[in-house]
Amino acid sequence: MSALTLYDKVWQQHVVRQEDDGTALLYIDRHLVHEVTSPQAFEGLQINHRPLWRKESIVAVPDHNVPTTDRDQGISDPVARLQVDTLDQNCDSFGLTEFKMNDRRQGIVHVIGPEQGATLPGMTVVCGDSHTSTHGAFAALAFGIGTSEVEHVMATQCLIQKKSKNMRITIEGPVGPGVTAKDIVLAIIGEIGTAGGTGYAIEFAGEAIRNLSMEGRMTVCNMTIEGGARAGLIACDQTTIDYVKGRPFAPAEEYWDQAVAYWNTLHSDAGAVFDREVVIQGDSIQPQVTWGTSPEMVIPVNARVPDPAQEADQVKSDGMQKALDYMGLKAGTPLNEVFIDKVFIGSCTNSRIEDLRAAAQIAKGRRVADNVKQALVVPGSGLVKQKAEQEGLDKIFVEAGFEWRDPGCSMCLAMNADRLEPGERCASTSNRNFEGRQGQGGRTHLVSPAMAAAAAVFGYFTDVREVELLN
């Protein structure tokens, strides 16, 4: 048999049938569900009197709409409340596993899936959310789907899919100190562009990727979609297996060895052919900051805001100028002269324990700068929050003037009350700097958790490698 890529292997394992034109029926192991993209799917099943094919495959959680303060008072926005209530009712009436808003296990769907062991190596994982690519960190084939496909998976346990092309992005050698998973993935998007991965499944490889913890790998795979690819994958290794062991949904003891034996095959074979290969030197990656309204508009922290006049392509140049106008920035400005109004540390990209530790390390012994009106820390799940509190991270944040909140998507997309006002500038650990994403007229700069914490305490973008750690 010829050498296969990791993506080829997981794909092949799940093909139920395939048409002559390559259209396949792909079997889905895990279906994660949240309140925003599911109500119309549940309604479709009910209208057509279709049962769920395999309800054990579903894990549901409300995350997009939930408030991050005063949970015991419920949700005050009636439209948001109806959507969360609708999820609760649907899960109750179909008999599904759901972590409701006040359950300690509640959190962002892409944080709780792995945390519960509901995401396992070799699985196909889908969710009505584009950041489902996160779960590819476990050598799983994981991708976002629309609501019609959510209904399709509920009714048939399958999706109609065509195989993507294979791309491998290798980060050679280690990255320097202060350079995190977020910087790696932002640098990748800067290199390939926001549509660079369209039509591909991307495997991330190389020393810098292997050196990452599972949290870091999830950050990298999470933003695969920002580079245009629906799925990103990382080979299974001991780091993966150690993370999974002992989690509530992990394989039972009697099957553990058999599962691990299979998981150890989940890597690309030597000699596997990729349709596209990209190689980036780890030591060339600096801490990154986005300056525009697309994640590809990204520069190293010590660079200056680029000039649209230098761009030859007219559509691109116009896009850059529009972005600068929206962001209220001038070409040539150094980032340490860009002052910020708000800070958001959270989201499915960067709200795990390691992210909070990195931010707390910078915040420790300092105060949020006077020009920063609000600095939010929103843990990814109730269990992350609990762990952080055991480590005393909450105290560090609160003493520094940050707000310590309850878990949810929060200001990443501002569906709840956490948002930017028009013109406000935010250092954010989230994944999208689109116009209006964090609130109408809001200006988002994507950074790592440590960079966000540094921006909070200095009031402007600061190279985290030059920040002294205080005790």
């Binding site: 029926l25 119309q40 309604e43 959310d129 976002g144 399709h152 559509v315 997309l413 999208r432």
Partner: protein
């Protein structure tokens, strides 16, 4: 789903690359539990000068006179002519529903984001990929001519202008078949229910930890 039939329609220009689904339908409207009613808030942040929310009547908001869909010429447009990477970002199918609810049946662009492209077919919106040069040519014709219309013929995979000049486009056979016949994917897949069951039997025998 309605059958997709040959039609001629007004073309509206969306002359910017990387139009994301947050721009197509902003987050505050995703709180709806319905599939319909998103049209009045399509491109909401660009379309209105005043901020919007589900509980605000759009009639009380000032329109942005500079936004293309507020131009009298394009208010009844059925074809959107767009640039690279249209529909990037969030997987929200609400973006497709909003375009359709406004009256669009077709989006033409040099490239689409994968999830948006896939979602479009599920509700009968046809995304057509043409080359950069062809899209440039259509933009030029559109900006030069009054009442610019195109005819879309899915059966023959052709886009043609009033002078009869034609451009052909590629489309997956299965998707074409479903659109032309207005077929529901779920019904089609359930025709293979027995095959899915026998797959499962073997699959869970091989991977018992997943059962």
């Amino acid at each position: 789903m309605q059958k997709f039939e040959k039609f001629s329609g007004i073309v509206a220009p969306m002359d910017r690359a990387n139009v994301d689904t947050d721009a197509i339908i902003p987050k505050q409207y995703l709180k709806s539990i319905k599939r319909s009613g998103f049209g009045p808030n399509l491109f909401d942040d660009w379309r209105y000068l005043d901020p919007g929310a589900p509980d605000i009547d759009n009639k009380t908001r000032r329109e942005n006179p500079d936004f293309v869909l507020n131009d009298a010429r394009y208010r009844k447009a059925q074809i959107l002519l767009a640039r690279e990477n249209f529909g990037c970002g969030s997987s929200r199918e609400h973006a497709v529903w909003a375009l359709e609810d406004f009256g669009f049946k077709v989006v033409i662009a040099p490239s689409f984001a994968d999830i948006f492209y896939n979602n479009s077919f599920k509700s009968g919106l046809l995304p057509i990929v043409l080359s950069h040069d062809q899209v440039d040519q259509l933009f030029t014709e559109l900006f030069d001519q009054e009442n610019y219309q195109l005819t879309v013929d899915l059966q023959n995979q052709l886009v043609s202008n009033a002078t009869g000049s034609q451009m052909s486009f590629d489309i997956d056979e299965f998707r074409k078949y479903c659109l032309l016949n207005g077929l529901d994917d779920i019904g089609l897949t359930l025709q293979h229910a027995e095959q899915i069951k026998s797959f499962e039997q073997q699959y869970y025998q091989q991977s018992p930890w997943l059962k």
